[in-house]
């Protein structure tokens, strides 16, 4: 029951999804759409698990007064404040101008944009460390990156050549390697999916 039923479910649902691709029948379409919807519903229930985990871990840290527990308290207050202003007014909370949306606009968006923009700093420091002509491979990486970056710096008479080179890199070798990459990923993912459906790959299922 604990192990064989789930494996059976995996195989049945997996092969159904595989076969239904070839069956244009209305019934097959209907079941396909429903199954995708059910998965969304399962995801909705699962979010309770996430919420529980976050609350449980944070409350525990606050209770045990582990170093830095004050920050866990901040996270918990943020979470529950959002839940209150989100639930109490009902669906209205998603309309612009509500307390919930104000928090989104003035707290969430600025922090999110700032976190995202940290990338500008990190991309520079990563380039500094990684782009050194140590080996042939590193040199290729370096040259290709610099050619593309130079597109944005006015180079005068050289800019025409650089534009041509950048365009060539993007449309030819770049496309070639991407195709090879995607085909490889396709085969790897297909093999993994097949292993799951056949029950060969089942570590994700637990053991007892």
């Amino acid at each position: 029951m604990r192990r064989s039923v789930p494996l059976l479910i995996v195989s049945i649902t997996g092969f159904f999804m595989l076969i239904q691709y070839f069956i244009p029948l209305e019934e097959s379409e209907w079941l396909y759409e429903r199954i995708l919807d059910w998965i969304i519903v399962i995801g909705c229930f699962a979010m309770l698990l996430g919420l529980w985990s976050l609350t449980y871990v944070s409350v525990n840290k606050v209770k045990r007064k582990v170093p830095g527990w004050g920050y866990n308290l901040v996270a918990l207050s943020g979470l529950f404040f959002m839940l209150i202003v989100g639930f109490v007014p009902g669906q209205e909370s998603l309309v612009r101008g509500s307390a919930f949306m104000h928090l989104f606009e003035y707290v969430y968006i600025p922090i999110q944009a700032s976190m995202f923009s940290l990338l500008a700093f990190y991309i520079a420091s990563a380039a500094y460390r990684a782009f050194r002509a140590r080996t042939v491979l590193a040199t290729i990486l370096l040259v290709s990156a610099v050619v593309i970056m130079l597109r944005l710096v006015p180079l005068g008479p050289l800019s025409g050549i650089n534009q041509w080179l950048a365009n060539f890199i993007l449309t030819v070798p770049n496309m070639a390697a991407k195709r090879a990459f995607w085909i490889g990923v396709g085969l790897g993912a297909t093999a993994t999916a097949l292993k799951i459906m056949l029950g060969i790959e089942r570590t994700y299922m637990g053991r007892d």
Partner: protein, 218 residues
């Protein structure tokens, strides 16, 4: 200098500085912003999902089902019965929560199996078609221009690189080596054009701090 009178802008500005302080090193200011961000975002995500997905998808459909049963009884058509099927999704979801109870937690594997199995079947086809057949179709080009020749050769060598069961030596190793060169060109190029995007993000933030918030620009 004309700082913004809007308190919301001030909060946004102060939080921005808190995040930037991380660049110097971990500190209480950043820790506060981080904790607030995690809490607020989890709450935001939960509420949004609840109102925009959970309510319409599950309760909405079951609501329709109950309503038609009340008004039409068993005379309702097949398409009306279909809404009842969402109860099945609801049950699978409910089983998922049973994880919280150690004694019967193993039942939640049934829902997990449903999710994993379905998507395995779905992706089996999806990857085979869009990553396999479609890419092959696009790469079958007449070898009539230098560009096309390089494209086909590059794809060929790239695939050689991904062979696992053959040692990379001799001529085979040479082709694999060319393959990884092509991959490196691609990685370099995408690094290069991502720089522009990332710099733009920081420009946007700096404009917020010095322009919108502190009013130092124009």
């Amino acid at each position: 200098m004309h700082p913004s009178p809007d308190i919301g802008i001030w909060i946004g500005g102060l939080l921005t500085l808190g995040i930037f302080s991380f660049l110097y090193g971990d500190n209480p200011y950043y820790k506060f912003c981080e904790a607030l961000f995690v809490g607020v975002s989890a709450g935001h995500w939960f509420i949004t999902l609840f109102w925009t997905v959970f309510i319409p998808k599950l309760l909405g459909n079951i609501g329709i089902a109950i309503h038609t049963f009340r008004t039409e009884g068993f005379a309702a058509g097949m398409s009306d019965y279909m809404h009842w099927s969402y109860i099945f999704g609801g049950i699978l979801g409910f089983l998922m929560i049973l994880r919280l109870f150690p004694k019967i937690g193993w039942i939640s594997r049934w829902s997990l199996a449903f999710v994993v199995g379905t998507t395995a079947g779905y992706y089996f086809i999806n990857y085979l078609v869009s990553n396999g057949l479609m890419q092959i179709q696009k790469t079958i080009l007449p070898l009539t221009s230098v560009g096309n020749i390089i494209l086909v050769v590059g794809t060929f060598c790239g695939l050689i690189y991904f062979f696992f069961s053959k040692e990379h030596k001799g001529a085979f190793g040479g082709l694999a080596r060319v393959g990884i060169w092509f991959l490196m060109i691609t990685f370099g190029a995408s690094f290069g054009y991502t720089v522009m995007s990332r710099m733009s993000l920081l420009i946007g933030r700096m404009d917020y701090i010095f322009g919108i918030w502190l009013g130092m620009i124009r």
